[in-house]
């Protein structure tokens, strides 16, 4: 059913902290690992050891250079996966009903046995969250690890998406964004979480926490050096004579001593 639900009971999603992400790509690897071995068709690679390896990933980490008007440029690592939009354009374009948004928790999924591999949903997604698997010829996307978060065979601490579980920096948070008292909602409120491409009207559930302002360098950054004896002294001997002579010639040319 590709009509979107009017409302979902939960809005499960991710909050990604761009201030904390170190760009290690561990979430990319754990995502690929879990989703290759579990729900649906495996995420295949083509020519993995060749000159131009390529493959299906549900999560990719970009890196952007942010250049403020004043101050130094800095690097922001930017993990991107499905945002489980409330107004998901990928769902409504699907001609077969393979794409759907779950009423109970808002997760956007693909029923792979109904997917004809037309690719229109990937075209409709402005974020590039959907990728056609080149081996299985069906559309793959982030499932929010639906086979982990409700899985009672796993220990309680593992019942969260693989990317969140593995992040060594704690930059990824999972929870219900419909509940204003949830940890993720509080994070979004505290840190001014933003939507990606709000003008596209997709109403993404996942939020991104912008980097905190960087520290400004004071003029005096080297506190100890002023207490140290200077190592370099006036040169003497031949080099001292050369230095003074060159200094005089330089002084004559430029007009100062």
């Amino acid at each position: 059913m590709t009509l979107l639900p009017d409302n979902t009971n939960l809005k499960l999603g991710l909050v990604i902290d761009l201030d904390t992400c170190v760009g290690c790509h561990a979430c990319v690897i754990s995502c690929k690992g879990w989703n290759t071995q579990n729900y649906g068709a495996p995420l295949s690679d083509q020519n993995p050891y060749g000159a131009e390896p390529t493959g299906t990933f549900l999560n990719r980490v970009h890196s952007y250079e942010v250049m403020p008007e004043t101050g130094t440029a800095h690097l922001v690592h930017f993990p991107k996966s499905c945002l489980h939009c409330e107004d998901a354009p990928c769902v409504t374009v699907c001609p077969t009903g393979a794409s759907y948004k779950r009423t109970e928790d808002g997760i956007v999924l693909v029923n792979e046995s109904d997917c004809i591999g037309c690719g229109l949903c990937a075209w409709a997604c402005p974020y590039g969250a959907r990728e056609m698997d080149a081996a299985e010829k069906v559309m793959k996307k982030c499932t929010l690890c639906v086979d982990r978060i409700y899985n009672e065979n796993l220990p309680a601490e593992d019942r969260e998406p693989a990317c969140v579980r593995t992040c060594p920096a704690g930059a990824r948070h999972f929870g219900d964004l419909a509940d204003s008292e949830s940890n993720v909602s509080k994070l979004v409120a505290d840190r001014g979480g933003v939507d990606l491409m709000p003008e596209q009207g997709t109403k993404p559930v996942n939020k991104y926490l912008p980097p905190r302002p960087k520290d400004q360098l004071d003029e005096q950054i080297d506190i100890l050096s002023s207490f140290l004896e200077p190592i370099a002294t006036e040169p003497d001997g031949f080099w001292g004579w050369l230095d003074r002579t060159l200094g005089r010639i330089d002084g004559m040319n430029s007009g100062d001593t």
Partner: protein
């Protein structure tokens, strides 16, 4: 967007085929054996185009499922409209060829369904906010225009063809003008895509992978855009200019055939540009446009 031959052939030939069906439904194209030839051409074009589109599918064996989601999906609506049109045209064609009668009311239904099929085809592309160049009110009119020329040209209505050529040329030039500004007007940029625009200028520094991926192959197609201006010129000459000149020469079947071939060549180039020039906003994440 990647200009895949399957979708170019599909939109081009099924467009002309349903354009021809539109005019056959209105009573053009005689009866009997002559009508049989016209209906056969329309069937070959439309069904050939639709078959070409199935080469774009990963699992064409499941294609029947695509008729189920007409309530939300323009692609599903397109499939449904195409099948209904082909069925109506079969009955209408039967009357025209066997009984040598034109059933007027059924013809009107056929014309409306042919038009609906072309509009739904265009809406598959026009609905996508993620591709600002396509997401224009003019896009359905562009598709209708090309279909109308193709249909009128094939049934030999020279005056109608010329009117449609002038109208479509205006629409096409307007569509290119609006399309060139569409990405900037959409408001989507790397700043909004990353949410970092409030802080500073943003530049793509490193892509997630060293190699290409499905997204870059399918949606970040930038090859040959630098030749776009020349190709636009060639397509205008072939699709509009040459047919008008050929149709104004003293009538000969050879000139008419040349006009049709030239027009189809022009439409194929214009349709190639339709895809190749279209910028998907996901390209912004990769530092492309």
């Amino acid at each position: 967007m990647n200009p895949a031959p399957s979708v170019i052939l599909f939109t081009c030939f099924s467009g002309i085929g349903f354009g021809l069906f539109f005019f056959l439904s209105l009573g053009y194209g005689s009866t009997g054996w002559i009508a049989a030839t016209f209906f056969a051409i329309a069937y070959s074009l439309s069904i050939g185009g639709l078959l070409a589109s199935t080469f774009h599918l990963g699992h064409p064996e499941r294609a029947l499922k695509a008729f189920t989601q007409w309530r939300s999906s323009w692609l599903s609506r397109e499939g449904c409209c195409a099948v209904v049109t082909l069925l109506v045209m079969t009955i209408l064609g039967f009357g025209r060829v066997i009984f040598e009668v034109h059933w007027y009311w059924l013809g009107l239904v056929g014309a409306a369904m042919s038009l609906a099929t072309v509009i739904t085809t265009a809406m598959i592309y026009a609905q996508l906010k993620s591709v600002p160049r396509w997401n224009l009110l003019l896009t359905p009119f562009l598709f209708i225009g090309y279909s109308a020329i193709g249909g009128a040209l094939l049934v030999g209505q020279i005056q109608l063809t010329e009117i449609f050529i002038v109208a479509t040329a205006v629409i096409q030039l307007g569509w290119w003008t609006l399309g060139d500004q569409a990405l900037a007007k959409s408001g989507t940029s790397l700043k909004t895509a990353t949410g970092l625009g409030d802080i500073a200028n943003v530049r793509a520094f490193e892509a997630p992978h060293t190699g290409p991926n499905y997204l870059t192959r399918e949606m970040v197609f930038v090859i040959a855009r630098r030749h776009a201006k020349l190709l636009r010129f060639i397509s205008v000459i072939l699709a509009f200019g040459a047919p008008v000149i050929l149709l104004n020469l003293p009538f000969a079947h050879f000139f008419a055939a040349m006009a049709i071939i030239s027009h189809i060549g022009g439409v194929l180039i214009a349709r190639w540009l339709f895809f190749a020039e279209a910028e998907h906003v996901v390209g912004l994440y990769y530092g492309a446009r």
